[in-house]
């Protein structure tokens, strides 16, 4: 069965949200399919709800209504423990990198491999290989506290992709990258999709087509997700 992620009548409103937009859902009645083998770009103005949509797709948030279906399974309605286990199959690049500051770059990248079989030697080899693909091999022994914003973002991308996940959600993954590094990451995301994974990238970068080969482009506007012709 090919990997596929889908939203059915998905809506999200911040719980206990107060303010002028109180009661208005951030996302409304979203029906979308993210098939394996495709790179899907979600764009929209700042604050449109792109990050929220990606968090919902990755199982980090519960929808207010509707559901997220992964390979036919309503994962958003699963018990937390089962959803957490399912999330091991997802690689997430957060807008804020969320690296563990007390660990080195390589240790951060090795983290998703720990629940898997194999041992430290194998995890180390995988981590180093992934860092090298993002031109960050030389950063491996450094503490993450010493890295620049762009370097941190590449390490976060390496951590998300090191485990060959079935679902990749990347939130503004090249916000602090130069074009060369952005292209390198774009190629890696393409290769990830080519082996059958679902890849969803959120970006509001107008030059995204310079570094990312996109199969499907969706735009998020006023809470609704629509295809860009």
């Amino acid at each position: 069965m090919p990997t596929v992620l889908a939203c059915r009548h998905l809506a999200y409103a911040y719980p206990n949200h107060a303010g002028p937009s109180a009661g208005t859902p951030l996302l409304q009645d979203i029906d979308a399919v993210f098939p394996g083998g495709q790179v899907v770009l979600v764009s929209g103005r700042s604050g449109a709800g792109k990050s929220t949509l990606l968090h919902l797709l990755a199982g980090l948030l519960r929808p207010s209504s509707g559901e997220i279906v992964a390979d036919g399974q309503p994962v958003s309605r699963w018990l937390t423990a089962h959803r957490d286990r399912w999330r091991r199959r997802a690689g997430i690049v957060f807008q804020q990198d969320h690296l563990v500051s007390d660990l080195t770059v390589l240790e951060n990248v090795m983290l998703p491999l720990i629940p898997r079989s194999g041992g430290p030697r194998q995890w180390r080899a995988c981590g180093l290989a992934m860092l090298a693909r993002l031109d960050a091999g030389d950063l491996a022994p450094q503490p993450v506290a010493t890295l620049s914003g762009g370097q941190r973002q590449r390490v976060a991308a390496a951590r998300a992709l090191v485990d060959a996940p079935d679902y990749v959600v990347a939130d503004e993954p090249t916000a602090h990258q130069d074009l060369d590094n952005a292209r390198r990451l774009g190629r890696l995301l393409r290769q990830t999709a080519d082996r059958g994974a679902v890849v969803v990238v959120a970006a509001h970068d107008r030059h995204v087509d310079e570094w990312l080969d996109v199969d499907q482009h969706l735009i998020l506007d006023n809470g609704y997700l629509q295809p860009v012709p």
Partner: protein
């Protein structure tokens, strides 16, 4: 009313347990009214999130209640006898509590049994991503609520009823039930040997049924047989222990006291023996509930329920063997050591 720290801890735990159950019951009530597994509307999704919180609250309540019950039994058997004049074990303490004492014990044990069954069903529920047993478990929580309310009330009454100035006569309760030696050797019209033989026969039958249920999952009739045998075994095992076998723990005949087994001079054996007895009751009922549940459910639930029913049957087997070993062990040792039974 005493302000012993352990009793205050027990009472505080009881209040907390009741509040947890009460909070979970509010969610359980909504689940009973509105739950629709297939609905993806906002109301149902909120209920799903709340059901997880409620399950966590009941799990905590179960743990707290278990702790409080063990602590209370310890207090009743090992602390309060020193404070109640004339009391030598839990019998005297319960006497000082008047009718509230036995009621408190009964409500607590019924509450424990209900939450035990809930806990085992929740394990089946948690093993499946879509939590299909939420509505059934919610009803069990609603069933537990009045029992825990009564248990809390009875505990409060029992604590208030205790009179530390009025002496009790522990032994009068034990020995004054008999007018003759002949009477001491009979229970409910049957001789102690009859009870002992019935205990032996039922223990063998229960072990065989538990073994079969453990090894042959998915057969509801064997779980039904196991539960029936267990329900028959429980009073007979209790009578055989208190009337015949406890004598070998005490080293004296006709001291028909279930509470003295909890005393340090008898190696606190009562805690293990009565825990095994309770476990037989709870696990046999669990095995039956899970086996019955599996019949009307789709295959994933059926498989998980069967697996847990099997484990419940295995636990029944182990608890029965533990009870038999601990209750008959001292008697057998006595026979081997002295070459004769206490009765000659």
């Amino acid at each position: 009313m005493t302000r012993h720290p352990l009793l205050l801890a027990v009472f505080t735990t009881d209040v907390l347990t009741f509040l947890l159950i009460l909070g979970a019951s509010a969610t359980a009530f909504r689940i009973a009214l509105h739950w629709d597994q297939q609905d993806t509307g906002a109301k149902q999704l909120r209920l799903q999130a709340r059901s997880e919180t409620a399950a966590l609250a009941v799990t905590w309540a179960f743990g707290l209640h278990l702790f409080a019950t063990i602590a209370l039994v310890y207090a009743v058997t090992n602390i309060l006898p020193d404070m109640v004049p004339g009391a030598m074990c839990g019998t005297g303490v319960l006497q000082a509590m008047h009718s509230s004492g036995p009621r408190m014990v009964i409500y607590r044990l019924v509450g424990l049994a209900i939450l035990w069954v809930w806990w085992r069903m929740e394990k089946v529920n948690q093993s499946l991503p879509e939590a299909p047993l939420v509505p059934i478990n919610a009803r069990v929580v609603l069933l537990a609520l009045p029992v825990f309310g009564l248990a809390l009330h009875a505990s409060w009454e029992a604590a208030g009823a205790m009179d530390f100035q009025q002496p009790v006569d522990c032994c009068a309760v034990i020995y004054d039930q008999f007018h003759s030696l002949q009477e001491a050797r009979r229970t409910l019209g049957a001789g102690n040997k009859v009870w002992l033989k019935a205990f032996g026969a039922l223990t063998l039958a229960l072990v065989a049924a538990a073994m079969t249920a453990w090894k042959s999952p998915g057969r509801r009739w064997i779980h039904m047989l196991l539960a029936t045998l267990a329900l028959g075994w429980l009073p007979i095992a209790a009578i055989a222990l208190v009337r015949v076998l406890a004598a070998y723990h005490y080293g004296v005949l006709h001291h028909h006291c279930p509470w003295c087994l909890f005393l340090p001079e008898h190696h606190l054996a009562g805690f293990l023996i009565w825990a095994a007895w309770m476990l037989v009751a709870m696990e046999a009922v669990t095995a039956l509930v899970l086996a019955s549940l599996s019949v009307r459910q789709p295959p994933p639930v059926w498989r998980s329920a069967c697996d847990h029913a099997r484990k419940a049957a295995r636990n029944t087997l182990l608890a029965t063997l533990l009870f038999a070993l601990l209750s008959t062990g001292p008697g057998l040792w006595w026979r081997l050591h002295f070459g004769m039974w206490l009765t000659g």
